[in-house]
Amino acid sequence: MPRPYSMIDPLRRRLGPLENHLVDELLAGRLSRRSFLRRASVIGLGGPMLAAVAAAFGPWSAPLAQAATGKPDTTIRVGTSVPAGAIDPVTVGDAGGLLMLQQVGDFLVYDQPDLRLAPMLATSWKPNPDGSVWTFRLRPGVKFHSGKTLVADDVVATMDRLADPKNASNALSVFQGVLSKGNTKKIDEHTIAFHLDAPNGNFPYYVSSDNYNAIILPADYDGNFEKTWDGTGPFRIEKYIPKVGASFVRNQDWWGGPVLPARTEFSFYDDQQPQVLALQGGQLDIVSQIVVQGAQGLLNDPDIAIIKLEASTHRQLHMRCDIPPFNDKRIRRALALTLDRPAIVAGLFRGLSDLGNDSPFAPVYPATDKSVAQRHQDIAQAKALMAAAGSKGFAVTLTTEQYQEMPDYAVLIQNAAKEIGIEVSLKIETQSAYYGDAVFGRSDWLDSPFGMTDYGHRGTPDVLLAAPLTSRGSWNAAHFKNPEYDRLVADFVAAIDLSSQRAIAGKIETLLLDETPVVFAYFYDYLTAARKSVSGAQPTAISQLFLQSASAG
């Protein structure tokens, strides 16, 4: 394909070294157009440069929300899980609660379903050369529902509130080692700079919709969100009844333009089954999230459309590296080799899932090095590894949670392990019993020699690489300690350009396949179910649901 560099070159003179490096990677064919776009969105490359590249390489389809084709002014009826407590942007940590926040609030940046970042309350952003300071420009003229205008002070207060260890902030674990209280600085009324604890190449994701607590609140927020529901989002609160439901009306003054639905109604459910029935019975338009177990009927229902998002949601099967029987990495590898992953994915998810390769690098991440060979079932090799480790087999207990498909997956592991003489007995607990106090010494999750844990989707692998696997990681249930791994993760987090990230990712993937502290067998798709008459609804794998362009009927 002829490449009209002449169109790009004049523009490149205005770019910094980071941006130019990214363009070089694209021109050299080391980056796909999709990866280029994703990475360009992270470092804030936009405007004329992107347009020029698009012109040079031809248009590309952006998997954005489908355009609304139905009539405006409808009411969209959504079923979702019951918010677990008071709706407070600082503390919320569950799907039902974060969905409520996102109806009335906006983020600085929107992490789209394909992990490209799009401007929201921030119109542009860029890092300094080493990625330790990120500067964001704010959209002018944005109004809160209360009528107040959004300024830099609101963003500074929001981020400081979330980064403050005294505030019961659910974002604290995300900001740990990344952003500290007091390091979000106002440059002018519409510019802020984040001075990070350490260089970070993925920082914009940390203040995007990925960090569901980070909706921008007025600087004078007093902690009682349910009194005001004051945000800048496309919908205003109409009514909220805890444990029952909520309704919202369109915000006529939304900065993003006309909001299509006149109203939205959310009904809260304790379980998936009644949501499935209500959708089939025509009493709901959308079920915000379904899991395949118990919703098989919807997958084949001609009246229902399933919106599928490739995601990084997964289960971690940890094997403690510090105590028998899994303190020999050959035994850990042997167990991982017993799993028939394509069959597991077909059985548990009807195939609506990617395969895992025993590292947090899900196929959805652009940084994942897909040239690293996929691990497949190999019983002969597994038996050889057991023999080499001098093990004829043993009995072990697998501790896990009563949650979604996990008990079924545990049975599949039990059956597979038998092939190499490992007798697995299952201990399936309630989620609160499994997690316990969630600190070492008082948690089956963190203390069990062999356990399985649920992990939600994240827009970047950074947190998944660090907390569950680094030597001092607070979620390191495998008790995996490997200085080489720790160093690689620090390098990965600091890397700003995608080719460096991918090179380090390849090394991490290879190291983890060799050590296998944790089995990652699958990364399953995020599924939303809607009646065929609904268009324009855009879920995210974080459990948000953007309805400003939605239409029903």
Binding site: V82, A84, G85, A86, D88, T91, G93, D94, P165, K166, N167, A168, S169, N170, L172, S173, Q176, P242, K243, V244, G245, S267, F268, Y269, D270, D271, Q273, P274, L277, A278, Q280, G281, G282, Q283, T430, Q431, S432, A433, Y435, G436, D437, A438, V439, W445, A467, S474, W475
Partner: protein
């Protein structure tokens, strides 16, 4: 006999209060055994421990358990049910709304199942050994063993998904009139009727057969009283005593034990309120929910005992000694 009644009531009421107090202690002690804490339940397993500690402190959940309990009891004595830790607002409106809903559903179910099952039980007894008797007994027995989630899903599929004549959700829209509310409660009442019908009918049948064979019935028949009068005055009066007790003991199930039905029909009754409070370690909500159900159970049992005495004066206070 008036003094007898007064003393009987006073004794029963003070016993009831003692029972409720002991119940609150048991719930509290049980709650301490549940793993986790409320801050962790709200923030989730992956939240930073500092955030969990901060939230527990804000909610007062880091105080010694006894201090929390005494504080709560002190509030109760002043008529204050406390504040929900999870929802950070007073417990009373949650309990009130859930209780009203639970009572409405229980009432609709009871209005259907009590007359139906008593009539069926008495009819079976009057034709004991015949085909009618066998059909009623067998049907009652078969229905009782159908789990609620099965009967619930079957009626939802038939009446809401296929025929679309009744709403799936038991939660009626705001401002619905009583008829609309009842329309929403018909489907969720069905699984309760299914569960209770066989049980109550069997008790009514057994009681009736026993009364029919009793000496006083034979005497009444020999006296030449009409069959209808014998049935009403001598048979039913005695036959229904155990049935009333059975119905009373089912009240706590009807009011507080309907978690499955409430979940499937999206009905925020007190059963699911108690369950989520227990999971979330929301101690004030859990205590208030369980004590409310306990108080209703005690109240209904009291009424049932009084009713039994009225039907059979030989049980009256002062008569039995």
């Amino acid at each position: 006999m008036g003094g007898g009644w007064g003393g009987w009531f006073a004794r029963r009421i003070s016993l009831s209060l003692l029972t409720l107090f002991l119940l609150s202690l048991v719930v509290f002690a049980g709650g301490q055994l549940l793993p986790g804490n409320v801050g962790r339940a709200i923030l989730g397993p992956l939240a930073d421990p500092r955030a969990v500690a901060a939230l527990n402190h804000q909610l007062g959940a880091d105080r010694p358990p006894l201090v929390q309990y005494l504080g709560w009891i002190g509030g109760i004595l002043h008529g204050n049910l406390g504040r929900s830790l999870e929802f950070r607002s007073p417990v009373a409106p949650f309990i009130g709304a859930a209780l009203v809903k639970s009572l409405k559903l229980a009432a609709v179910a009871a209005i259907i199942v009590v007359p139906l099952s008593i009539a069926a039980g008495v009819a079976a007894a009057l034709s004991a050994g015949t085909l009618t008797d066998r059909v009623i007994s067998l049907a009652g027995l078969s229905l009782t063993v159908i789990p609620e989630f099965v009967s619930s899903i079957v009626v939802i599929l038939i009446f809401s998904v296929w025929l679309r004549v009744l709403p799936i959700s038991a939660a009626w829209p705001a401002g619905a009139d009583p008829f609309e509310q009842i329309r929403h409660l018909i489907l969720p009442a069905v699984p309760l009727v299914v569960v209770l019908f066989g049980y109550i009918a069997r008790m009514a049948r057994a009681g009736t057969i026993e009364a029919l064979e009793a000496d006083y019935t034979r005497t009444a028949i020999l006296k030449g009283l009409p069959r209808f009068v014998v049935l009403r005055r001598h048979v039913l009066r005695n036959a229904l005593l155990p049935t009333i007790t059975v119905i009373a003991t089912q009240t706590s199930y009807l009011v507080g034990g309907l978690v499955v039905v409430e979940t499937l029909f999206r009905y925020q009754g007190i059963g699911s309120l108690i369950l989520t409070a227990a999971i979330g370690k929301d101690f004030p909500m859990l205590e208030a929910g369980i004590l409310t159900v306990g108080a209703i159970y005690i109240g209904v049992t009291l009424i049932a005992d009084a009713l039994a005495i009225l039907l059979n004066p030989r049980l009256a206070p002062g008569m039995a000694g």
